[in-house]
């Protein structure tokens, strides 16, 4: 019997068939080389190469390794912040603002050659950082080094430190920007991180803050629900209102500040309505407190826009619509003087362009109701009639209704017609200021709630009463960091900022105020 010989094509084929499928080695090498070139060699090469200079001037260290040390030029030193500067001792200018390299330097950075390192991008940058999305080196300034704070602060110049590092040394505060802010997490991720991720570590120090900083005015805080002190509300300390203090709300929630204004919220917000030229009107909060468009605060309440339609400053309410201006005393007196001189010399009353409207009869508490008096036909000259009318308006029917009015010796402002009338002084109303400057609160986010659910305005009898809510109301909806059914998880950063000077909402104190941060009584 004859078996297949070695030359036999059949045995040759069978021997071939017993070998595994070909191509494994070839495909392996191909994949290895393609992956290594595309994903490692080209990106690294491109990152080290600057096509405009043909050198490694961005990275002196690498440049030196490649014999390129001479190319470390003045342009580089001018553009990049000094790497020897430690992140926690960043130089500042006189205003306390970080004084670092100009933003325009970064815009001049050439992107990596053909953006070959784009394969490395682990995820989309925050929307505000996307102009640098193809320029990894704008933030990753040195190879195999972490992102440096200097490179963040080159643009973010106006951030303030959490505490004054010239006063306080605490290793826990010497964190990098990137310890809290992690980019490459999506277009809107940094904003979300600022609200929820940042601030999770606050309690590390703040749970026993006095152990770290004995002088602090801050109470211990662990969690919004479990351990957070009652709010401190910023109030003006006296009627002159030159000094602002943050005062902790007392247990009964009642806090007052001098305002030099008489305004009973309860009268105006009565559900039976309040008198107006058109009869009783039920007022809404927004009639006077109009949202200012930033979602946070309100436009200033003014006499002209919010009061005067009812509280008209009529000189002769039964005969004329003519009003005195809501302004300096001299302007009011001069208007009265001119009006009654005209009446005295011509015997006629200027009525004003509109038909006569009904006047609101104003009755001060304890006084009997009476009809408005007229001085048109009283005996005497214009000065005598203007004097009587001024006394009536200043002391009985108009100014005194809302203001602190005090008679002062004359004469009045030189060169004004009302100079020879009796004179008054009206105490300046305390200007607006932020109530809770250490936190952010957007009214727009809370528009589903009624104003009254936080501000007990309808029971407030005096303008001096501060109607800021305490923490208990917030806790009806806001949980702490731990999730609670039907409540909102609220990390510290939901309301508080970390970088101190920049974190207040855009409500700077009015001119003439002096901030007395953290020196409030407790």
């Amino acid at each position: 019997m004859s078996g297949p010989t070695p030359e036999d094509p059949l045995s040759q084929e069978i021997r071939g068939l017993q070998r595994p499928l070909p191509g494994r080695r070839l495909v392996s090498w191909l994949l290895f080389l393609v992956a290594l070139t595309a994903f490692l060699l080209l990106p690294v090469g491109a990152a080290l190469f600057n096509d405009d200079q043909g050198g490694m001037r961005d990275w002196p260290l690498i440049g030196a390794m490649f014999g390129d040390a001479d190319r470390v030029d003045a342009q580089l030193l001018g553009r990049r912040p000094d790497p020897s500067v430690k992140p926690d001792f960043i130089p500042r200018d006189a205003q306390g603002v970080f004084a670092l390299a100009d933003l325009t330097g970064y815009q001049a950075t050439p992107p990596t050659l053909m953006a070959l390192d784009r394969w490395w991008n682990p995820g989309p940058l925050a929307a505000a950082h996307q102009p640098w999305a193809n320029d990894c080196r704008a933030c990753h300034a040195a190879p195999f080094g972490r992102v440096r704070d200097e490179d963040c602060l080159a643009c973010h110049k106006v951030l303030g430190d959490h505490v004054d590092f010239t006063q306080v040394k605490d290793a826990r505060l010497e964190v990098r920007c990137a310890s809290c802010h992690r980019d490459h997490k999506g277009e809107f991720a940094l904003a979300a991180q600022n609200k929820h991720a940042v601030g999770r570590d606050c309690a590390d120090c703040h749970r026993d803050i006095k152990a770290s900083y004995a002088d602090t005015q801050t109470e211990n805080v662990r969690d919004f629900v479990d351990e957070h002190p009652q709010f401190r509300v910023q109030v003006a300390s006296d009627a002159a209102g030159k000094v602002l203090q943050r005062v902790r709300l007392p247990a009964n929630g009642l806090l007052s500040q001098p305002t030099n204004l008489k305004f009973p919220h309860d009268v105006h917000m009565s559900d039976k309505g309040v008198g107006s030229p058109n009869g009783k009107v039920v007022m809404k909060c927004a009639d006077c407190h109009e949202a200012n468009g930033d979602g946070i605060g309100f436009r200033p309440t003014t006499m002209q826009d919010h009061c005067q339609s009812c509280h008209a400053l009529k000189m002769e309410p039964t005969l004329s619509n003519r009003e005195v201006p809501h302004g300096p005393v001299a302007d009011v007196l001069s208007t009265l003087r001119e009006f009654y001189s005209f009446v005295a010399t011509t015997g006629s009353v200027p009525r004003g362009p509109e038909p006569l409207t009904r006047n609101i009869v104003i009755k001060r508490p304890g006084e009997p109701e009476r009809a408005p008096r007229s001085f048109v036909s009283m005996p005497g000259d214009g000065k005598a009639r203007a004097t009587a009318a001024a006394i009536e308006m200043f002391e009985k029917t108009s100014c005194v209704i809302c203001h602190e009015v005090k008679r002062v010796p004359g004469p009045g402002k030189a060169g004004t017609p009302g100079r020879d009338l009796p004179q008054w002084e009206i105490a300046a109303v305390a200007p607006d200021h932020a109530w809770m400057p250490k936190s952010t609160f957007t009214h727009a986010s809370h528009s589903a709630a009624t104003c009254e659910s936080c501000h007990a305005a309808s029971k407030s009898k005096e303008a001096t009463e501060v109607l800021m809510p305490g923490i208990d109301g917030c806790r009806d909806c806001h949980a702490g960091t731990k999730p609670v059914a039907d409540k909102i998880v609220s990390d510290c950063a939901l309301c508080h900022g970390f970088h101190m000077p920049g974190h207040t909402p855009p409500q700077p104190p009015a001119k003439g105020y002096q901030l007395l941060s953290g020196r409030a009584q407790r």
Partner: protein
């Protein structure tokens, strides 16, 4: 008790280790509360990444251990069992390392390559467990070589019978004997469009109707040759399709090694 196979080796020793590793990784992932979101750059992310990279390197070393026939470093069967189970544990560890953050970048490409390697491996394990004959490369208890001997014997017998017949028949038989079994790499994956032996069988059947005994004998031998061929081809097709997993598993794992290197270098290059 059923016979121990590569998965159940040593009473599921490597399965138990891999399960422990996977469960530990899952528990750590669930307990971990990273500041922003889970991803490869947290402490747990770095840990899982390091463990995963070490596992990948060790799994690739299996290719070297397989060729080191003289190695005493554990049995090859043990290495394979551990290779399979650690590879499946890598699926858990690698996935948790990503923190489920994916994108069009080399990090996700590396993850996809890893999945390709793991799933092609699972495919390979499955086909070998379902067709144990493929491992021994035996058809009906005989080796491919032995089947080749049978073919050669049938050809010798056919040539003998054909000597008494005309040159037309001799040509048919010669073509049948000389045609390759599959012919080329692609022939291993699909049945051939034409087959010289099948052609000879058809022709002999038509000629054989005239009643010549020699033709009928030759016809019978060629039919046996055709059956034998089809048995071999069927086996080769099954083997080619099952071996295809290795054509993915091995090259992609080498590509993964390069991509993994780029992944690790890149994340620290732009730290």
């Amino acid at each position: 008790m059923t016979q121990e196979n590569v998965l159940t080796l040593h009473g599921f020793r490597y399965f138990r280790w891999s399960l422990l590793l996977s469960v530990a990784a899952i528990v750590a992932y669930l307990l971990d509360d990273p500041p922003v979101a889970p991803y490869g750059g947290t402490w747990l992310g770095y840990t899982l990444g390091t463990v995963g990279a070490l596992i990948i390197v060790w799994l690739i070393l299996f290719g070297a251990r397989k060729r080191a026939y003289r190695s005493n470093l554990g049995s090859l069967r043990g290495w394979l069992s551990a290779h399979i189970w650690l590879g499946i544990a890598l699926l858990v560890i690698g996935t948790l390392h990503t923190g489920f953050q994916f994108g069009w970048n080399i990090h996700t490409i590396a993850y996809i390559l890893m999945l390709l390697v793991i799933f092609s491996g699972i495919w390979g394990v499955t086909v070998y467990l379902r067709n144990p004959a493929l491992l021994s490369e035996m058809i009906g208890g005989k080796s491919l070589q032995q089947h080749g001997v049978v073919l050669a014997e049938l050809d010798a017998e056919s040539r003998n019978l054909a000597q008494k017949l005309g040159p037309d028949v001799q040509q048919l038989i010669e073509a049948s004997a000389r045609a390759p079994i599959v012919g080329g790499v692609f022939g291993r994956f699909a049945a051939p469009a034409s087959c010289a032996t099948a052609n000879a069988v058809t022709q002999l059947q038509q000629i054989g109707l005239s009643g010549d005994k020699a033709i009928r004998n030759l016809y019978a031998v060629q039919v046996r040759r055709q059956q034998q061929l089809e048995r071999i081809r069927g086996f080769l097709r099954l083997k080619a399709w099952t071996d295809l997993w290795l054509l993915i598993h091995v090259p992609v794992s080498i590509g993964l090694l390069a991509t993994l290197t780029a992944h690790i270098v890149s994340v620290f290059f732009y730290w």
